[in-house]
Symmetry: C2
Subunit: 479 residues, 2 copies
Amino acid sequence: MADNKKMVEAITSMDVDFAQWYTDVVKKAELCDYASVKGCMVIKPAGYALWENIQKKLDARFKACGVQNVYMPIFIPESLLQKEKDHVEGFAPEVAWVTHGGMEPLQERMCVRPTSETLFCDFYAKDIHSYRDLPRVYNQWCSVVRWEKTTRPFLRSREFLWQEGHTAHATAEEAQERTIQMLNVYADFCEEVLAIPVIRGQKTDKEKFAGAEATYTIEALMHDGKALQSGTSHNFGDGFAKAFEIQYTDKDNTLKYVHQTSWGMSTRIIGALIMVHGDDSGLVLPPRIAPVQIMIVPVQQKKEGVLDAAFGLRDRLIKAGFSVKVDDTDKSPGWKFADCEMRGIPLRVEIGPKDLEKNQAVLVRRDTHEKSFISLDNLEEEIGKLLETIQSDMFARAKAHLEAHTSQAVTWDAFVDTINTKPGFVKAMWCGCQECEDKIKEETGATSRCMPFKQETLADTCVCCGKPAKKMVYWGRAY
Amino acid sequence: MADNKKMVEAITSMDVDFAQWYTDVVKKAELCDYASVKGCMVIKPAGYALWENIQKKLDARFKACGVQNVYMPIFIPESLLQKEKDHVEGFAPEVAWVTHGGMEPLQERMCVRPTSETLFCDFYAKDIHSYRDLPRVYNQWCSVVRWEKTTRPFLRSREFLWQEGHTAHATAEEAQERTIQMLNVYADFCEEVLAIPVIRGQKTDKEKFAGAEATYTIEALMHDGKALQSGTSHNFGDGFAKAFEIQYTDKDNTLKYVHQTSWGMSTRIIGALIMVHGDDSGLVLPPRIAPVQIMIVPVQQKKEGVLDAAFGLRDRLIKAGFSVKVDDTDKSPGWKFADCEMRGIPLRVEIGPKDLEKNQAVLVRRDTHEKSFISLDNLEEEIGKLLETIQSDMFARAKAHLEAHTSQAVTWDAFVDTINTKPGFVKAMWCGCQECEDKIKEETGATSRCMPFKQETLADTCVCCGKPAKKMVYWGRAY
C-alpha cells in the first residue's frame, strides 16, 4: 500500500479534461501539494528546484542590467497602504490583516504585503536626496499574500513567491526605458530559457496595475488555448512620488519628483511551463531550466558492470557540466521510464548489458519520445547538441502552437464565433473605450490581453462598436 | 548638503561605546536601515549581498549532504500551533496574528510563522507512509516574525531572514546523527568562510528550543566579549511525531513514529561578522564572503592612461575569478580609501601615474592596513595568495581573541569577579540544576552558553552551589 502511492499511475488526458490533467501533473510530478492553510501551497522539492533555477537565471539577467537586491519588511501599516488612492483601492479588498502582536492588540493594523510599492516609496522618500542618488534599481525576492477566493496550484494562491523590482529615476524618459527594458528581460528569459514564446504589449487602462500610468505585459498561450499573463512591468510616472513626496535636488538646484517603475514575475510561471510544454505522459521541461537534465536508467542493473557503467557515465556527464542522476532503485525499467516522463526530464539514457557489449547507450528524448543510439566514446558533445536541439524544438513547437491559435476578426459576429469555436488569441481592432472591453468580456468571456507593440491595421473600425479604431488588441480567455 | 550624507564621517570608537560603534557601522557601511514598520529592517544592497553570499555558500554545503529545498506556507492556523504543548508555550507570546482576510474576519486566526515545525509536521503526517519515504531532509529559506519588544539591526528584529531545516528519520540514532551533522555544517561554515571561531556544544534544558529533546549550538565571541548564539540544531526525538501522528510502516510491517530534527541560521550571523571582525575604521569582511573582494582606486585618475589601466586591471582580476570594482567617482583618493575601509572591502589596489611608470600597483590590506607593492606582471596569483592570507589571519586573530577572552573559575567569588571584570566566556563546573543557572543569571547577568563537546574537569563541585558537578559549562553575557 505504501508503495502504491509511488507508482506511476495514468493521468487524465489533456484533451478529456485539461484542468484535471493539470492537477494530476502537479501532483504526480510532485511539484506541489495543498497545505492545511486554505489556499496556500506546499512547494515540494521538484517544484522548488524549478523555482531555484528560475531565480538563478533571472537574477543573473537582472544583475547584468544593474539591478541590486534588497529586502523590505513583510508588513505594511494601514496608513502607508492608503497613501496612493488607486493603489489602496486595488489591493485593500484582498489583503490579510495583522491586528495583534503577541498578546496585545496593535495600535495600527498592518497587512502582509500584497506587493511592496508603498514600502519602497516610504524608503525612497527618506533615502533619496540628490540627483547623485539616482537611479535606484532595487529588487527583492520574497513571498506575497493576496486573499483570493478561488485558488489553483501555482496559478492563483493566497501566498506566492515572486520578485518585485522597484526603481526611481530622475526623468520620465529614463523610467519608461527601464519599464520596457525589464519587460524585454522577462520576454527574452521566457523565450530563451523556458522555451515559451510571448506576445509583448501594453495593457489597456482597465487591465493596468492599481496606481500605474502604464502597464506592459508578456502574454503566453497555454496548450488549451487560454492566455496566461506571465510577467508585467509598470511605469508609475510621478504618481507615487507625489503621494509619498519622493523628491531630489537636481543639478540646477531645484526640487523634482522622481519617476518610478515596478516589475514582477512569480511562481505562476511554473504553471505556464506545465501548460505550454506538458503532454499526456506528464511534465516536459526545457533542458535550460530542468533541475535534472539527464536521467540514466540502468537496464538489468544486477548484471555485472551495468551499475558501474551507469555511475561512470553519470560522472562523465556531470564533469561535462550537465545535471545528471542515475535511477538505481529496485523498480522495473518500465516504471523508471514512466517516472522520468512524468517528471519531465529532458533526456533519458538507458544502458544495459547488450549496450555495453556494443559500447553504446540508448537516448530517449522526452519531448518527442524519439529513440537513438550513441557510442560511449565522446558522447558528451553529442548529448550537449541534443539538449540544445530539444530546447529549440520545444520553442519552435510552442511558437507554432501560438501562431496556429492566433486568429483575427473584423466583424462582431466573426469575433464572437472565433472566441467560441477556436481556442486561442483573437486579434481585433478596438476603439479604446472601456464600454467595448466590458461588453466583450460579458458576452464572450474574453479579456483584452494586450495592445501588442507590433501593431497591425486589420480594419478601420472597432470590432465591437464600429466606431473608429485606435488599437489592435489581442483578446482571449485567460487564467 | 546632498553630498554631506555621502561623506565618510568618523564613527564612534568601539572602546568608547561598542553599541554605538555597531549602530554607526551598520548605518555608514549601508548594510541596513530602520523601516517605518516598527522593529523591522530594510536590508540595503550591501547587507543583502552579504546575505546572498551566505545563502549561496551555506546552501551548497546543505546540498552536498543531501538537503532538499522546499517552501511551506507563511501562516500557521492557531489550532496547528497548539498541537505541541511546549512549542506553543514558547512561541505564542511573540507571534503576529492575522485575523482578517480582505474585508472578512477569519473563522480561525493564523499567526505569521515564527518558525515552521508545526507546518512541516502537518505536511509530513500526510506525506510520510513507509520506511521508503524516509529520511526526509527538507530546508526552506524564508523570513519569520517574532514580536520582540526591543530590537537591534540584524541581532534582534521583528522580522528576520533565515533558513530552517526540518528532517524526519526512521530511527533515533539517525536523527541524532543528522542533528550533529548540521551543527558541524554551521560550525565549519562559520570558521572556514566567515573566519569566526565557534564553541560547539549542547544547550542546557533551560536554554533549549521549545519542544526539543536536545538543542545544540555554536557560540561565537564578539569583540566586546559578549557571546552570540550563531546557529542551532535541535533533536526532537518523537515528541512532535506523537503530537502530529507522523507514523510510518517499517520493514517489519509495524507502525512507528518518526524521529525529527530542525536547524537554523539567520541574518543574525551578519551581526556576528560585524562584531567579530570590525574595527574603528568600519566593517572588515573576510575575502571568502565579501561581495566585493577588491576595490581598485585610481590615483590622479584624470592623467592619461590611469583609468584605462584601472579598468584593464579590473578585467584581468575578474577573469581570474575575483569580485572587483573600480571607484572612478569624482571623489578624492583619500575619501575613496576611507569609504573602502568603512565597507570592509578586504583588499584595496591603488594605481596612479607613478605606479604605471614603475609597472606596479599598491596593495593595502583592510585587516592590517598593511601596504605593499606588486608588479603588474602576473599579479593574479599573488593577489589570490594575499586574499587567502587575509582570510586565515582574520580567523587566527579572532581565535586568539576568543582564547584570550576565555577564563575559568572554580569558586563562586572568582566566578563573579571574572564575569564582572573580564569580558568573555568563563568556563565553570555546574551541578545540572536550574536553580544554579537562575542564580548565576540573576547575580551576574551571565547565561549558560553551552556545555561544550570538549569537556574538561576543572573541579569536582558546582561553581554555584558546591554540590557534585556534572558538566563544564561556558558562561557569558550574550546578545
